[in-house]
């Protein structure tokens, strides 16, 4: 490997014992694994909660323990866990931590100690969240949006107990963790790139994580402000968000506040949050599609500018979540317009991925299968988003299963498909071994087909006007029996898909010991994480000297080169 010259000396602190190597480690790779492990563990809990919901919807009354209260608690905790504690943490804390220093050719994050703190504070936020399952009235059942007034009032599960307080406290702690991690990602991307790694030579996933981090840093304060004010309303009975309320003919101590103010604060965070999850998924797809199709990514510059445009516009679309909150119709028109405009840079990205695939030497590896599945799923989820982005269509479809189908396709299934593709792709870099291909194919097909069988029917149920969030459909004449039959079908599919995820876990564990040796660069990728001296990379990543970068990260099929790829750290004169 070509190395740079004229370096200045800098100390690197090797871990000295088991605790500093594996528990309180400051090595970005270990911290990434810690993030991934905790996020997957809490994600499994979130999946289990969704299966509980599905059991109630498909087979009402089968489990006596699921009453209306616990159903709403399951709904709320499922949503919050999946969006914040699984996807945000896993994409940025997991993939971000692992890939940023390795792909940029640096030794570690800019501030390793703060990075370690970031994980442990995240872990604390998960502990606080999980502890709400064990308090007397259980976790909050207010829905993941936590709208006041109902979220902090008696009658809502967890509303008058500690459940809502623990949820808000956990979010505040998570935001502190995210800020510590985020400041590190920003500093590392801007400051710790190897010589020659200009901003426009960075792999697209680094651009995506960088921009998603910016989105998070600018959006999470809105949630923090909302959470602090809601805690005040709940604990001190102030009235930031609480209007005058009568309960059983009795006036409560609240009055004068505005619940809509909370909605604005929540969605100012909530919509960028969609892109905090989506952008890293875009990044993973960009890397995987180019590598596994053995072709350079189409329109790199345009991809970067499209990402920047998406990140910018993501801040001016939030009120499309609030069309039915009683907003001025002109305001609705404005937000509908911005919502449709954001489809343009998004479409640029999708077209570029498709053109990258055109006439390419596509390898049908498991990561590529996930890429193709992502493209289709994201397209479908995006198109139903165009329906809901328009006020006139959104109003009748609002709060129906159409919305549930839409957002699961676009921000649950799509990112998870990208996530799985990423896990299959980078597992060899982390462990030095390949995941089992057959198990990977089985896991893929069950997950891909299964999720369609789950979420496609929800669009039709939504068209029938079936409201989301209802615990039971029993007493509503307008809901036909066919909906109940379909719900049974969806539940059975969900159980199968849920069970199939254990194939992945099994594959993870077994391949760790019995997987095929991966070698240093099993996919023939150009990016730096595969060019480290050791495989898997050791502490400090690069041995004595940092790599030097000579080219962009997608030199596949370079004319004149014998191999079908040229790594970023190979200079022109060494190409054979």
């Amino acid at each position: 490997m070509e190395q740079g010259a004229n370096y200045e000396g800098q100390p690197i602190h090797e871990p000295t014992g088991w605790w500093s190597r594996y528990v309180f480690s400051q090595d970005h790779k270990i911290i990434a694994l810690q993030y991934i492990s905790v996020a997957l563990a809490i994600g499994l809990t979130g999946m289990f909660l969704s299966l509980m919901m599905r059991m109630q919807l498909g087979f009402p009354g089968l489990f006596e323990s699921i009453d209306a209260g616990s159903y709403y608690q399951d709904v709320t905790m499922h949503g919050m866990i999946m969006v914040i504690y699984l996807l945000t943490a896993l994409f940025l804390g997991g993939f971000g931590n692992y890939l940023i220093p390795l792909m940029l050719g640096s030794r570690d994050m800019a501030f390793p100690f703060v990075n370690m703190l970031s994980f442990w504070v995240y872990f604390l936020s998960v502990i606080i969240l999980v502890s709400s399952f064990f308090v007397e009235s259980g976790p909050t059942g207010a829905g993941w949006t936590l709208y006041p007034p109902q979220s902090i009032l008696e009658g809502t599960p967890g509303g008058d107990g500690a459940g809502i307080i623990l949820m808000l406290a956990s979010l505040a702690v998570f935001i502190i963790a995210f800020t510590m991690g985020g400041l590190n990602y920003i500093t590392t991307v801007l400051q710790s790139r190897a010589k020659g790694m200009t901003l426009m030579r960075m792999p697209l996933i680094i651009w995506c994580i960088f921009l998603a981090t910016f989105l998070g840093l600018l959006a999470f304060p809105a949630l923090l402000v909302g959470a602090i004010m809601l805690i005040f309303d709940r604990v001190l009975e102030t009235s930031f968000f609480m209007p005058e309320i009568f309960k059983g003919g009795e006036v409560l101590d609240y009055g004068g506040g505005s619940p809509v103010l909370f909605q604005h604060l929540f969605w100012f965070f909530g919509h960028p949050e969609v892109y905090i999850i989506a952008l890293p998924a875009f990044g993973i797809i960009s890397e995987l599609i180019s590598c596994h199709a053995r072709k350079n990514i189409f329109g790199y510059n345009m991809m970067v500018w499209a990402l920047i445009a998406i990140a910018g516009i993501a801040f001016i679309v939030w009120a499309h979540h609030m069309y039915v909150a009683g907003m001025n119709p002109y305001l609705g028109f404005f937000f509908a317009t911005t919502t449709l405009i954001i489809a343009i840079p998004t479409a640029i990205k999708v077209y570029n991925w498709v053109i990258t695939l055109w006439d390419a030497n596509i390898k049908m590896t498991v990561p590529m299968l996930y890429c193709l599945a992502f493209l289709i799923t994201f397209l479908i989820g995006g198109l139903t988003g165009l329906f809901l982005g328009n006020v006139a269509v959104d109003v009748p479809l609002s709060d129906t299963y159409f919305v549930v189908g839409h957002f699961h396709m676009v921000m649950a299934v799509s990112p998870v498909l990208a996530l799985y593709g990423g896990l299959y792709h980078w597992y060899p870099s982390v462990t030095g071994r390949m995941l089992d291909d057959t198990l990977g194919q089985i896991h893929f097909w069950i997950t891909f087909v299964g999720t369609y069988l789950i979420y496609f029917p929800m669009h039709y149920i939504g068209f029938l006007g079936v409201p989301r969030r209802y615990y039971s459909n029993d007493q509503y004449d307008f809901i036909p029996q066919s909906v109940n039959d379909l719900n049974q079908f969806i539940t059975i599919c969900a159980l199968i898909v849920g069970a199939a995820q254990f194939i992945l876990l099994y594959n993870f564990v077994v391949s760790l010991y019995k997987g095929k040796e991966a070698g240093p660069n099993p996919w023939g990728a150009c990016t730096l994480e595969w060019q480290a001296l050791e495989s898997p990379p050791g502490h400090g990543n690069w041995g004595e000297k940092l790599p030097v970068v000579y080219r962009w990260p997608y030199d596949y099929g370079l004319p004149g080169a014998t191999a079908d790829f040229v790594p970023q750290n190979v200079p022109d004169e060494q190409i054979t």
């Binding site: 000396g9 304060p221 009235s239 000297k545």
Partner: protein, 189 residues
């Protein structure tokens, strides 16, 4: 510990610490922007009853100005490698920042003793929330100040830490700017 080599691309000639602290300031600005937005939104409602500004806030503003001046002194000392100036500047900057926070608690006492309790009116709640959030960020700065000052006094001849002192100074000026804007908001509404 092994010596390794390092050569990195940097953004606009900034140091790691500068990027970290400037980004942190951006995040804090956004936090106060949201709380200000919420304040301006909520104050239009009928039940809003403005809080009389405690006279102590003027004294506290003076304290924060002096803290900022002290820190600017320390910064200039760091540039000239003058240990004495750094020490005096750091002490002035830190002590007046602590005075500011103490003064804010006295201002709260002034309000509560006049019956302006936190829960009585949304204007009161916002007053306490905004001033407390700002004070917490000053306290965060004081923690960093404590760390840097301790190091400076321990090994003054060897390490003058011009970057740390410079960043601390920037944060002090920034906290003063945020406070002046918040104080103007409270005064004018």
């Amino acid at each position: 510990m092994t010596n390794i080599t390092n050569n990195e691309e940097r953004f606009m000639g900034l140091t790691h610490g500068q990027v970290f602290v400037y980004t942190l300031m951006t995040v804090i600005s956004i936090l106060f922007l949201f709380i200000t937005n919420a304040y301006l939104f909520r104050m239009n409602f009928e039940d809003w009853n403005p809080v009389p500004i405690p006279s102590m806030l003027w004294v506290n503003t003076g304290s924060l100005v002096l803290a900022s001046v002290g820190m600017a002194w320390a910064k200039s000392g760091a540039k000239r490698s003058s240990v004495q100036t750094i020490k005096v500047g750091l002490i002035i900057g830190g002590l007046f920042a602590v005075t500011f926070v103490t003064g804010q608690t006295l201002a709260w006492q002034e309000l509560t003793s006049s019956g302006y309790f936190l829960t009585i009116n949304p204007a009161n709640t916002f007053f306490y929330l905004i001033t407390a959030l700002h004070a917490m960020h000053v306290i965060g700065g004081v923690a960093a100040w404590f760390y840097v000052t301790l190091k400076t006094f321990k090994r003054d001849q060897l390490i003058l830490q011009p970057e740390s002192i410079g960043l601390l100074g920037s944060y002090w000026h920034y906290m003063l700017l945020v406070w002046v804007l918040l104080f103007m908001l409270l005064l004018t509404t």
